[in-house]
Symmetry: C2
Subunit: 472 residues, 2 copies
Amino acid sequence: MTTTHTSLETGVSSAGVGIFADALDAQAVPVTRVDWRPPMAGTEADLATVVTDPLRAEANRRAVEAVLAVQAMVVDVAPAHEVLGLQKGEFLHAGPPLSWENASGPMRGALMGAAALEGLVEDPEDAEALFASGEGVSLAPCHSRRAVGPMAGVVSPSMWMWVLEDPEDGRRTYCSLNEGLGKVLRYGAYAPEVLERLRWMSRTLGPLLAEAVRATGPIDATAILGQMLQMGDEAHNRNRAGTLMLLRDLAPALVTSDADPSDVAEALAFMGGNDHFFLNVAMPACKLQLDAARGIEGSTMVVAMARNGTEFGIQVAGTDDEWFTGPAQIADGLFLGDFGPEDANPDIGDSAITETAGIGGFSMATAPAIVRFVGGSVPDALATTRRMGEITLAENNRWAIPVLEFMGAPTGIDVTKVCRTSILPQINTGMAGRLAGVGQVGAGLVTPPGEIFPKALAALATRTRSRADRSG
Amino acid sequence: MTTTHTSLETGVSSAGVGIFADALDAQAVPVTRVDWRPPMAGTEADLATVVTDPLRAEANRRAVEAVLAVQAMVVDVAPAHEVLGLQKGEFLHAGPPLSWENASGPMRGALMGAAALEGLVEDPEDAEALFASGEGVSLAPCHSRRAVGPMAGVVSPSMWMWVLEDPEDGRRTYCSLNEGLGKVLRYGAYAPEVLERLRWMSRTLGPLLAEAVRATGPIDATAILGQMLQMGDEAHNRNRAGTLMLLRDLAPALVTSDADPSDVAEALAFMGGNDHFFLNVAMPACKLQLDAARGIEGSTMVVAMARNGTEFGIQVAGTDDEWFTGPAQIADGLFLGDFGPEDANPDIGDSAITETAGIGGFSMATAPAIVRFVGGSVPDALATTRRMGEITLAENNRWAIPVLEFMGAPTGIDVTKVCRTSILPQINTGMAGRLAGVGQVGAGLVTPPGEIFPKALAALATRTRSRADRSG
């Protein structure tokens, strides 16, 4: 058995995991390791076409190199109407495209809250009729505007956004500011305190962060992510160290700003009291890296995984902006208070962009304490990272996992490897209540619906055949 | 093979490490595991006496319970002359008692710098004659004043100290503020910039921290240490997460203080730029816990390990304040720049109080990234924590190690177990240059000189026999 999973054709070097990994392996085999599984049903012909595509090896090599080269810098914080050009009545949401009719409870709740926040209705409950009518309102995926949003991921014009930039080419990505846990808009809650917190974030927190980021200068989110993986964070459901490093970096500039010291103290306490605050920086950093590989003809690498609470969708480097979707699953995990599986909404949020980039569930091995939040066992967490190595194209050496002897995070999901092995990507996720207004009910482990990978493979095969027809 | 190491006689429950640990074990055995070694030479008779001491089991149970019960709270920051009653000309140092004649280069360098800081001499070089004469100056171990100091550990009256308190009984411990890495007093450097930094710390940093701690209220250092072990810190040579959590806790009060915002910003940048800042809180927290077990007749538990750069000494719960000493060793590790083993001073500092309490080298498994700083391999780091379980009395469940399935830190070194197994405590340490004025040259792994444990055992045996004679 070998720990090397980098295919020769990509030319990316692989760090062996050695004797320690073998010891882990010896234990993980009977539980989780798949030595051989049949390819996903019905994929044989498409696999044969795509795997022999003459563009594929070079396209995947380019895709991986593009992703690994990006250093994502936090350069600004600004309102969505400014940086995304979002107009009154326009709302972004997580996941693939969605209509109000098909929206789940937490997505509806978040949209209703956002409509009240923007002054379209007085009472969030009145927004149901507004969205049902469709008059003066429109919905679009965050991804369609280079943004990402956790859970419901609803963005409205007045919300302030993190702005990340690739200094090499000026590309940018965006994400809203994290509200904390419990009753928050992104989990579908819209009670008065939820809206009041959002107003404080737009009135006080956003402008303070903007001033501090501009005074501090660009902050290297990719490097912070590398440190986090040495500090027990997998950067999806654990962002403790990342949040603290961001606070450390911004605190001196916050202190010397002209702002009211009590506002600064409140902002520092809010950030320091919310272990997930950095998630909303990690996500656009991952998107900025992955977007570098969009549109590479022949590449079978996944560039986005995202859920809207109804459907789970992926986008692939070699198929432009097409979404391949299937029904979102319900996570298996741990529940807050008296909540149980019957209270949980299907999987929701753009946060699976972290797994797409190789962290989150893919780097669970480096964050064993996560099992107390999302469930599972420590050996499973270690085995999961190794298993994800079987469906990815490379290891990211900037994101080393110390306990696996500094193996790089398994990065770049290959649609052909998923179809060939039937191993599905592992995602760590929060769980929203299925009813609008409830908020978070738990956290757990989930996978995409299996059928979306054969769908993506079929599209890749169609393009491959079409190219062969044209040249032949 | 079993992972349970808690002896029945202590009555402390032990968490099994289970299937994952067995997998680690399978690998660690050939390299580091000692299934059986003869007892240390000449210890057989004393072992027979002490192991059958009728007081021992109950004394060790009480010692362990006392240590594990302490919640160490940061309650103040204040000058040493105030809280330790240190007078002009009085200097504290790391390790067991020491004379100027026997002091190593870095210890002399630190004392010379401190003499200049206190205005006893203008030029640090002139302090050599002063200390050689002994006129108006005196040396005493930090431990003799309920204090601890990293590396040279020199404390002089004007230095500001962290003050930790056990809220149950009001006991206190103390430690100076951490200066950062490189050319710093505690590594024996005394250049003008070293003294200028110390003056800034006394003039600005100390008073700011004092105001912030008093405004914030007691900070739970024991709980922060528990979080650190989930965040890749072993709290001796990695204190990154701990430093960030301390900064998070103090930042709001610093911002709303009446101090000059530029001083506050400088203080925040200094703390945030020094990953070791929390070490000087971790050490007195460990001492506060261990001091709770001092003076328990019959207990064979080590309550302090400390080095003065010449000698390594231990103190034991059942032998009051007696030191058992031997020559300090030179660490095996990684060197900065062009430095090599010939540049290194023997082991120095009170920081081995962290290992005495179960963290540092004893909890290396939770901080695998440490091997890039102190040397060794990741499998060794994992195996070390399990090996330390063989010479300790308990697991500290408040300090859980996630990767070993939340096993508690191995706590309470038992002199009899060390003598019986010949397994020596493992310490992670910084290395000072052997010449005064040089500063840090590296970091590495070190053990105490083996002979100090038979010395301590002999003293315990003498007391056991004396008690038996009196009662018999």
